[in-house]
Each structure stands twice: as structure tokens, then as C-alpha cells.
Symmetry: none
Subunit: 203 residues, 2 copies
DNA sequence: ATGTGCGTAACGCTTTCGGGTGATGCTCGT
DNA sequence: ACGAGCATCACCCGAAAGCGTTACGCACAT
């Protein structure tokens, strides 16, 4: 009976991660939490074999959550999930007791491999490895152009205006729009902008 | 007699902060509040030397709370507490009158240092970041219905679908949409969603 | 060399949006 | 009693958006 707890404040990331780790061989149960506080609150009653925890969360935040969790239960195994460039957070997290970290845009295969390894070896600690954005896991990978178009949308620009901004024809902007909608799973530009914010692709 | 007010909607974060600032030399009294409304309500009767306030809270939210507090009492000193991701919120808060900000996962030492400094120097203030004119000023106040419609948009629902969700006619949804566009200064639904995220009205 | 992904562009077609305007009823506070 | 604000609904109409499809050149990897 192997259980994993996915902790992320973003429902989207949570679901994606949940589905991803559920496919790891030997994993019987995947639960989710939306905050470090929730993990701590549930820990005594609902202990799991491995915790995947986001670094950046409202409230306690990943780092402090790991610190507290490990200080109450040194056998707790935690892998931190990080978006990018917050290496300070990762270093702190590892220093606080996390076994290692994974980039959120790691490939599904890498995620599964890491989880398998962490489950197989209780003493395992991850050597940080940088992974190429690949076919899944979490944040959809948009091209530079697609992000530019998405940003234009988030500033209330019409396709024609975005085209003028980027020296493109309106039809080309529409093509980029269509493609980024598909990648994000968005039904329209408003949805796309929302998903862009939730994934941290735009601000 | 130096007093500090900690304002955060999360009880755990509130307690953590309370304990942390209580250890700062010279601090005699630490009170807590769970919402910006509560701070405003209690301000005249229960004035404090420094307020630590969370950016992201239900109801008024940190930004608007600071704005109102400072507009009623310009001597009020507020430090915003924030997560790494909402830099816009920080900038808005500082522009609205907050003296500075702290990351929630800042170290205890950092927290104490910042609080000490703010207490020692009543004029202490972070240099406000340059903001677009549209972003300065008061947070747009949307009605409950308007927020529901905005949320629907952020989930990619069409006006007709939002209407079915909320048991309204499509025309009514359109009216709400038009009004919230005007309030937010949005040019279309994508822009409105983006502004909703930037103001912390939706997530 | 062959495929795959990206960037660019176009055309037709349907759906949806957004603005303008007007209207009714309700609940506040003054 | 009155206006202000909110919620509700309706109609028209032009302007966008969104979708399917096709196509070409280019880079990069298998």
C-alpha cells in the first residue's frame, strides 16, 4: 500500500500532478492538499509515503511547511516542486529537510522516475537535475510568439492590434491564438488569459 | 508601549506571525485580525504602531484595506505580507500607502529586522514602483453578481453558459459584463479577467 | 531525406461579443 | 418620498472572435 500526497495551491497543477503520479507503478493512493497547513494538519491521521509539495504557496509556503513537517516527523519524505529560477527556495527546502526537488516542467517520465526512486529507496536524496520541457507534467509549453499573443490578450488588445504590435497580420495572430488555446485547453481568450495567470505564464 | 497588529485570514499564519513579531525587542503588545474590514472597524478604537497585513484576503483584500486605512489615517504604518508571485499586488499596496512588504516565507530574522526598522523609523518607506496610471487609485468594487460573471469568464464560459449557471438570461449576463468592464476599465472579457487576477478579485 | 514543430499568411463561415438604449422592480439611505 | 445603486430582461447591430482548412519556408533532429 503506497500512498502519495500532492500539495499545491493551484487546482490545475494539483490535478495534473495527481494524474501523473497515479500512473507510477506501485502507487495505490494519491491524495491532494491545497496548502502546507493542510498537510501538517492531516499528517498524524493521514500519513503518506511521499509528499510532492509546491515551493510557492500562500500561507506557510513550501519551505516552512517542509521544515515543520520534517521536524515533527523525520521519516517524512518530501519532494519540492518548483517553477523555475527560485533556486533559493529549493536550497532552503533541501536544507529544511526535503529529499530533493523537481522542476514543474519536467517530463512526465522524469517525474515518474523520480517518484519511483524516492519510493524505492527511503534514504534517497535527489541530485538536482534540470529537465527539458517535455510532453507534459504541468505548465503547458507555449512558444515565445504564443506568449506574446497571450500577453496582448491580457492587455485587452484585439487580434488586429496585437498584429500591429508584433508586425504580424491579424490572421497570423489568430493562428497563434488558436494554437495556444489548444495547448492550454482554453475555450476562448478570456479562459486562456485566466489559465495563463494560473500557470504563471503571464502576470 | 509599542503595539503591532497582525492581519491575516489564515489562523495558522496569523499565529505564526504573532509569535514571530512578539520576539522583536520593544514590542509590548501583538493583536490579530482576520480581515481588512476588522482592522478598519477597530482602527479608531484600537490604534497600533504597525500593521502587518496579508495581500490576499477574502473580502476587501489587502490592497484596498491599506488604501482605506491610510486614507483615513495617513500616519498608519502598514507592511504587506505577500507571496513571491504577486509582485503586482505588492506594487499596488506600496502605491496605496503601505510602507513596505515582506515575503511570507521570509526568515524569522528578516521579519524581525524589517519590523524593527519600521518601528524605529516612522518615516521608513520603500521606494514606490512606477505604476501605470490605470493601476493607481482605488480597487474597483465589483458586486457579487459581477464577480460571479467575471469568474465564469475566467473559466471560459460564454455569456449564455454563465447565464445557465446562474439562472439568468444571457442578456442579463451581458449587462453585468458591460458594467464590470466599465468598472475595471477593461476593453473585453480577456482584459477583464487579466485585471481581475491582477487586482486579486479572482484566482 | 524525412518528419516535426514553428512562424507566417490567407479564406470562408458561424458564433459570440460588446455597445447603445430602454425598461421594471427591489432595497437602501436620506 | 426620493434618488441611487443593484439586479433583471430585451432588442438591435456592427465588429470581433473562433474554427477548419490550406499552404509555404525554415530550422532541427532522426
Amino acid at each position: 500500500m503506497t500512498s502519495i500526497l500532492v500539495c499545491d495551491d493551484s487546482p490545475l497543477a494539483r490535478e495534473t500532478l495527481r494524474r501523473a503520479v497515479a500512473t507510477v507503478p506501485g502507487v495505490d493512493r494519491v491524495t491532494t492538499a491545497s496548502s502546507g497547513e493542510e498537510v501538517l494538519r492531516r499528517w498524524t491521521a493521514d500519513r503518506v509515503d511521499l509528499v510532492l509539495m509546491d515551493v510557492r504557496m500562500p500561507g506557510l509556503g513550501g519551505v516552512e511547511s517542509v521544515r515543520r513537517l520534517v521536524s515533527t516527523d523525520p521519516t517524512a519524505r518530501v519532494i519540492m516542486l518548483t517553477m523555475a529560477e527560485d533556486l533559493d527556495g529549493v536550497a532552503l527546502a533541501v536544507a529544511s529537510g526535503a529529499r530533493g526537488y523537481l522542476h514543474k516542467d519536467a517530463s512526465r517520465a522524469e517525474l515518474r522516475a523520480t517518484v519511483s526512486q524516492a519510493l524505492a529507496d527511503p534514504t534517497w536524496r535527489l541530485a538536482p537535475r534540470r529537465l527539458r520541457p517535455a510532453e507534459v507534467g504541468s505548465a503547458p509549453t507555449l512558444t515565445a510568439r504564443e506568449i506574446q499573443v497571450l500577453e496582448g490578450m491580457s492587455h485587452g488588445r484585439s487580434n488586429a492590434e496585437i498584429g500591429r504590435d508584433l508586425f504580424l497580420s491579424e490572421d497570423t495572430v489568430k493562428t497563434h491564438a488558436r494554437r495556444l488555446f489548444k495547448k492550454l485547453g482554453a475555450s476562448d481568450r478570456a479562459h486562456a488569459v485566466a489559465l495563463g495567470f494560473r500557470w504563471g505564464l503571464v502576470r
